[in-house]
């Protein structure tokens, strides 16, 4: 399967509609077997789903995605997981090992820090 991630440098772009590039990673099982960067700067946002569908993409991982784009992706049977932030490599790795949840925010998630408040007797 092919997964597309809109990017800004090495991180997920804040909004799919503002991204200039996407990373398309080819996955086999739990392994990444190929990767390419595609320029999407000349496209209108509503053309992005058609473009990615033509590249064989079946999943999109992104931060912000306008609702109408989500619906166009749905027409193409492309699954969208939005609300993900972080470094592209780390996100892909987390997706392959743990799986992603819609709106989970920072990926990999921060471990909750519990402050040591002393012993209580």
């Amino acid at each position: 399967m092919k997964v597309a991630i809109p990017i800004n440098g090495d991180r997920i772009a804040p909004r799919l509609s503002l991204a200039k590039e996407v990373v398309v990673a080819e996955l086999k099982g739990r392994r990444e077997v190929g990767r390419e960067r595609l320029n999407i700067s000349g496209l209108y946002p509503m053309e992005i789903p058609d473009f990615l569908a033509s590249k064989g993409v079946t999943k999109v991982i992104a931060a912000g995605v306008d609702w109408y784009l989500q619906e166009i992706f749905r027409l193409h049977n492309i699954d969208v997981t939005w609300g993900i932030m972080g470094n592209v490599d780390e996100v892909l790795n987390f997706y392959l090992t743990e799986g992603l949840q819609m709106g989970m925010g920072l990926c990999p998630p921060r471990r909750s820090r519990r402050r040591f408040r002393g012993f209580h007797f």
Partner: protein
Amino acid sequence: MVREKDYFNIILDSIADGVFTVDKQWRITTFNKAAERITGFTREEAIGQYCYEIFRTNVCLERCALRETMQSGQDIINKELNILDKYNREIPVSISTAVLRDEKGEIIGGVETFRDLSLIKELDKEIHEKYSFQDIISKHPSIVNIFRILPDIARSEATVLIQGESGTGKELIAQAIHNLSPRKDGPLVKVNCGALPETLLESELFGYLRGAFTDAKRDKPGRFKLAEGGTIFLDEIGDIPAGIQAKLLRVLENKEYEPLGGTSTIKADVRVVTATNKDLERLVKLGQFREDLYYRLNVVKIELPSLRERRMDIPLLIEHFIERFNKKTGKEIRGVSDEVMKILLNHPYPGNIRELENIIEHAFILCKGPQIQWEHLPSYLRNQKPSTTERRSIREIEKEHIINTLQRCSGNMTKAAQELGIHRTTLWRKLKKMGSI
């Protein structure tokens, strides 16, 4: 005794506007309570993150106000933009920015305050009718397909005919075509052809010269002139009289026209987008509309389905209007009763979305509790019995929706549950109850 840092946080949290600060690497260092409320992110989630990943504005990375301020040292006051909240909802805000300096005057970061403008923008849209195609709330494939082809239609110079019943959003589509077209920086001039008598419509469209008629004291440019370099949107095109049809045909064929009382021809650099709620083909057969004009107008046709044809959108639209009226009225209505939902799902909506909006607005005035009930509906709906052929229970509608979603997701329960916005086990329980498992 309150410590200085705590005191500072108490002040920040008592401010009604969202406030956050960043360091020089754009990492958030402060995030007050109002910022949590507006964005949906908690302070713990936001602190340490890049500001553009939390706010996801429509200008992040390219025209960032805070970046501009940190580079120029100049404050920015009340700049309007949109952020996306944690739940992927677009929130219009007004922001102000300033630099943060240490005791030596060195820049150590920036501060931004932001105010939620949702309500103001909602009212502004209503007053000035400044809606965009994103205001068309729909998951129906025929509407989503229209969104998909809009850029191609917009890029071409072809005349567009938008057909649909009144209240289906024809004007929003016309607006979108203009906004996406190479003519977007030019004007978009709207004319309601059905609202004007023939003589007035002719002078409105093509203008007149001084002395053209008794009251013509000076030249008046027509709408085609005003739309020069942009788009003219001719609404209710099916209502234009025969005389104007011939003149319009000339504009479409030769890109030229003559103002009233004029002898010289004016060239028109205007894109024509038209709309009608009438069946033009039928009018052509009845001899009420010129066939040649019909074919000139019908180069690209967009057909907008009525609300009856996309009943799946009704619950979505009800939710949308409730949210909008809650903001407007300060009420906290959470939804409609099953009985009301049933009536609303079965109503034929001759007035389409506008009618549904009016129904919810009416109910809002009468509803004092958390849920809209039968007695809050307008009388014509209270008296209306759903037709036996169309009458379906909420459970039947829910079942159909779940099965459609499952089919779309190729039977993948996790995916379907995600799409339906319910937990996987809830979906499983519902399917079991329906006897589908």
